[in-house]
Amino acid sequence: MNRIRSAFENGKAFIPFITCGDPDLETTAKTVREAVKNGADLIELGIPFSDPTAEGPVIQGANIRALAGGVTTDKIFDLVRDLRADVKIPLVFMTYANVVFSYGSERFISTCREIGIDGLILPDLPFEERDEFLPTCRKYGIALIPLIAPTSENRIAMIAKEAEGFIYVVSSLGVTGMRSEIKTDIGAIVKVIRENTDIPCAVGFGISTPEQAAKMSALSDGAIVGSAIIKILEKYGKDAAPYVGEYVRSMKEAM
């Protein structure tokens, strides 16, 4: 069994997203360890992409800073090798299709297996295109984590039925970023998911406060937070790790 399941066995899962290399890889390593110490159940590690079309300004900024700092896919693989010396929770990569494709799908995905990555989230890879990477992911036991959006409607059942790892439920229209209010009927989406699979699902996009995390995870199996964490990294730079840790604890406690 893929270790992702274990992230959902300790109450509701809190899933932080961290862009690797923002502002540098040492800070990323420290921040990941702080997040683990403070209750993160699974971590999404972002491999930066030059043109992240699903991201709002905050995560776009993190991508630009990381790439400007000279981060590459190979350096991020080394970071994960280092983290895996002591980090036991599931880790997944979040990046764009071209980062995987251009590296060579087989080479990228087999390296994921070797270094202890459990899953892959590609926001520009919809259900219809999953065969680009799915056979290779299955070969190496890497979960290709699908996304379901507020506009998915008649597609939810189809996507849920074949889901692996967990399902990323996109809370709102538009790109990533903090929102004061989430208007989508998450309960209705989760209901259709439940009718079709027992794979866990977590809600992301727009969650920043403990209240939102509590509300969204009550409707599902967990909450994913990106922009709010990137904001802390943007503010504190190399000193951000303890602040992220504190934030993770406050979110996990609220859930």
Binding site: F49, S50, D51, T53, A54, G56, Q60, L67, T72, T73, D74, Y96, A97, N98, V99, V100, F101, S102, Y103, P123, D124, L125, P126, F127, E128, E129, D131, E132, P146, L147, I148, A149, P150, T151, S152, E153, N154, R155, I159, V170, L173, G174, V175
Partner: protein, 396 residues
Amino acid sequence: MSSSRGRFGIHGGQYIPETLMNAVIELEAAYNRYKDDPDFNRELNALLNDYAGRPSRLYYAEKMTRDLGGAKIYLKREDLNHTGAHKINNVLGQALLAKRMGKTRLIAETGAGQHGVATATAAALMGMECVVFMGEEDTKRQALNVYRMKLLGSEVIPVKTGTATLKDAVSEAMREWTRRISDTHYCLGSVMGPHPFPTIVRDFQAVISREIKEQLFEKEGRLPDAVIACVGGGSNAIGSFYHFIGDESVALIGCEAAGRGIDTFETAATVNTGRLGIFHGMKSYFCQDEFGQIAPVYSISAGLDYPGIGPEHAHLHDIGRAQYVPITDDEAVEAFEYLAKTEGIIPAIESAHAVAYAKKIAPNMGKDKIIVVTLSGRGDKDCAAIARYRGEDINE
């Protein structure tokens, strides 16, 4: 088993966020419903003819032919269309389709501003709201077109991310579409992006090659030996090629923007310097680094300053049916000036890339050969930038 749609060989597909999937599926269904619908086509043809000024002329460039001393050169005058470029062909089709789908708002990306102006024009004509995304760098290079769009009632949003050029404008338009789908149609300007856009835009631009074929048959009683067009995403080129793809004797030549040269980093020649990748909704060739980061490309031409190429072109390249040649800034500027002085026609700097290649090959071809060069747009918008390139500062 793959359920991927919209492939040209290995290229194409729909690599987009899940949020947009139902929107492109709905668009494909609407297009399939209306593309052969007599009422839809009657309305579109009336607009193309009475509003946009089609058919565009096929002009025999006699002085240029004599000067080069080889093949006979015809110019397909898309620059004479209303709004000054081929972009209007596609936009009128998509805007009509969007209206049939009940959409009230158009969004678009633009590079040189020609597609933005065409979209703003169609929106004004059809009473739709319009928002155009344009790289901040391009709003400076093409200030006149920014003003035209505003005059036509559109909002123009300067995009400051990345290289602040066409690719960033596409990214931002895609982001906007994921934010607001129900009333909004993304009027994509080239034969790129996710399926069904490369097919829809090609079909609306195919009028160019249909007319070339008829007009040349009337004038010469035969097919051309070569058709030459500039390629960024590749909409005027695919429009110029489409009805000749089955005619193996016709050489199809796309001219890519080489910028300062394909041996430099300041280039936008995708087929000549890029490699296979996945970006902006499609699998195709892209300028990128070894880790798949999209390259910050460069060309003097804002309309060709794009790191990718439409999937059907990538396929025509793979199977050897079309060839894609690099043309530098210097060559394009020289051709821009040449056509102005020789024929009294100022071409868009994009189209000047095609003129430049015709200049190269015509002298080596026999006088019994025929080349058709598509002038995708007119060059008024470029005069200030070319003057600057030549070290002259003029007030726009």
